[in-house]
């Protein structure tokens, strides 16, 4: 789980901060934990693929920085990279609005 957190949490954190700047840090941290937890449950062969994409994304984050990487990848619709962004978004959005239904679109609590 620690390795998964290292691989996936930084991107999830920056992506959620990018999409929902008003989401309080504590809620963002819980959302990141949820996303990483669900990735950990994925079927083995699929997760190997997702982990490999995460390695590439982490490398990009080291070179470009987190915020620039997210700005670069957020609109990408290519297979693999686009699916990785989509995976994180779908997990985070589902968690945020199920847990705090009256959250505003920018993440600001009601």
């Amino acid at each position: 789980m620690a390795l998964l957190t290292v691989l996936h949490a930084p991107f999830a954190d920056v992506l959620i901060a990018h999409d929902m700047p008003g989401l309080p840090a504590a809620r963002r941290a819980r959302s990141v934990d949820f996303a990483v937890g669900r990735i950990a449950l994925m079927p083995g062969p699929t997760r190997v693929g997702v982990d490999l994409i995460a390695v590439a994304v982490r490398a990009l984050m080291v070179v470009l920085g987190g915020a620039r990487t997210v700005r670069l990848l957020a609109p990408v619709t290519l297979p693999l990279l686009g699916e990785y962004v989509r995976l994180h978004r779908s997990l985070a959005y589902a968690y945020v609005w199920e847990t705090w239904p009256d959250t505003a679109v920018d993440g600001t609590p009601a």
């Binding site: 669900r38 079927p43 297979p79 978004r89 609005w97 847990t99 679109v105």
Partner: protein, 481 residues
């Protein structure tokens, strides 16, 4: 429920899986006086313990927390139950017998022997009685009414689909209790002496003289059980994977069939959201090729449905009380595969849509949007990247023009046909589910259905599983005498 301590070293019949196929199999065999052990990978969770369709339910009762996908272009999200009772514990509970022409096609094209419609109907009658299959008392939920009203406005055929639900006296549409396997066939099986052991994962099966050795993991330890006969009822993904891990690969897992669906969200002037239930109406004007229905729509799932075009659609999530999610399902001509890989617990699942499937998904989404507009939607938000907001009929051409299945959130909850039954050479099991390439192993779940029936498959799964289990019990009884 029995604990791991109840797992014997020997039994007459071991049933792998406790869903619609496994639970009915266990009840029939136990009531015929056979010593039955059911092993289930997931945990036993009573109805009502968890909010339906919630993230908690996905974590505790779905395989892989609900994050499962058939790889392909597009990837197709699917769900499998992983709990005692299997998919019956978590699905909508909507119940439809397969149409007679589907049963005829299965019998004729796959050479299924002794597959009489009268026997099927008689068993279906029993199932419906046992599960209390019925329509809702009183008024349906607002989102169900929208499907009905939108369809009626267009003059399209729609109907209320009955469910396996029990309602309290004077209850409403949302007060039902699901008559799932943990409420029906599993208690019956246990009353007849069957043992149900949860937390058991079967690794592989091995032929051994006059029995089958079941190699499994329970409570972190490896165990072996010698069974005279094994029924594999793990569902359309896990069953072929187990057979493959056991060396039975020929024609196994190569013909996965599903009902692919695409979704949209719609906003209405009134509050329509029901978070923990699904609409019971379905639009059947274009059935079997196309069916329209409604999904669970709590705010989390609504945000998920809007996420494909979040910068444009996201704002509307704040109006979730006025919104609901709907789907268009198709009968697909595509096929998929399930392949167990060495070193992995889980198989790789792939699926390929045909050109006709893609066209049908586009047509389905367009017509579903029209139903919503006719029902009074002020805006419709289709779930694909690049989708427009649809505010009137004039926007439907744009919806269709921009649609691409590769950019859509395609998903399915109906998986079947990975081990089709019949006497045809392409069928790895015979007309009653017995594996042709091995002794003493029978498949008895959704894997057996020769193709996707165009309606919720669980009625067909239960009726066929009961038929096959009775056939087995009769032969065994005959063998004893």
């Amino acid at each position: 429920m029995n604990t791991a301590d109840a797992l014997p070293t020997r039994c007459e019949v071991l049933v792998v899986g406790s869903g619609a196929g496994g639970a009915t199999t266990a009840a029939v065999l136990a009531e015929a006086g056979i010593d039955v052990v059911v092993v289930e990978e997931g945990e036993w969770i009573a109805q009502g313990e968890i909010v339906p369709f919630s993230l908690e339910q996905m974590e505790r009762q779905y395989r892989s927390g609900g994050v499962t996908v058939a790889l392909g272009r597009p990837g197709i999200a699917y769900t499998e139950g992983r709990c005692v009772g299997g998919g019956t514990e978590i699905n909508s509970g909507l119940y439809r017998r397969p149409p007679a022409d589907v049963l005829d096609r299965w019998r004729d094209q796959y050479g299924i022997a002794d597959f009489a419609p009268e026997e099927f109907d008689s068993i279906a009658d029993e199932v419906e009685e046992e599960l209390s299959v019925r329509t809702v008392p009183g008024a349906v939920t607002p989102s169900s009414g929208l499907l009905r009203d939108g369809s009626d406005a267009l003059g399209w055929r729609q109907s209320e689909i009955p469910r396996w639900m029990e309602y309290p006296e004077g209850g409403s549409a949302t007060s039902g209790r699901r008559r799932s396997m943990t409420e029906t066939y599993l208690p019956r099986a246990r009353r007849a002496g069957a043992r149900v052991v949860s937390g058991c994962r079967v690794r592989r099966l091995r032929q051994a003289g006059h029995g089958v050795v079941v190699d499994l993991e329970v409570a972190g330890a490896r165990r072996e059980v010698l069974a005279d006969h094994v029924f594999v009822c793990g569902g359309a993904i896990q069953t072929p994977a187990l057979l493959q891990r056991s060396g039975l690969r020929r024609d196994v897992g190569a013909s996965l069939a599903i009902h692919p669906t695409v979704k949209l969200s719609a906003r209405f002037p009134d509050e329509v959201n029901v978070g923990d239930d699904v609409p019971v109406h379905q639009v059947k004007e274009f059935a079997p090729n196309l069916s329209f229905g409604g999904s669970a729509s709590h705010p989390g799932l609504l945000a998920l449905a809007l996420s494909d075009e979040w910068p444009k659609f996201g704002q509307v999530v704040e109006s979730w009380r006025h919104m609901s999610v709907f789907y268009a399902a198709i009968t697909s001509e595509g096929r998929g595969r399930v392949d167990a890989l060495p070193g992995f617990q889980d198989p790789v699942v792939t699926y390929r849509l045909t050109r006709r499937d893609r066209d049908l998904l586009r047509a389905g989404l367009n017509r579903l949007a029209l139903v919503m507009l006719e029902a009074g939607a002020t805006e419709v938000y289709p779930s694909y990247r690049g989708a427009p907001v649809v505010r009137g009929r004039r926007d439907l051409a744009d919806l269709a023009a921009r649609f691409s299945a590769n950019r859509a959130s395609v998903m399915t909850v109906h998986l079947c046909s990975t081990v089709p039954m019949g006497e045809s050479d392409r069928c790895p099991v015979d007309s009653f589910g017995a594996v042709k390439a091995a002794d003493r192993i029978t498949v008895n779940d959704a894997s057996l259905l020769p193709d996707a029936p165009g309606v919720n498959p669980q009625a067909a799964v239960m009726a066929i599983a009961i038929r096959n289990a009775r056939h087995f019990a009769a032969r065994r009884s005959g063998g004893r005498t």
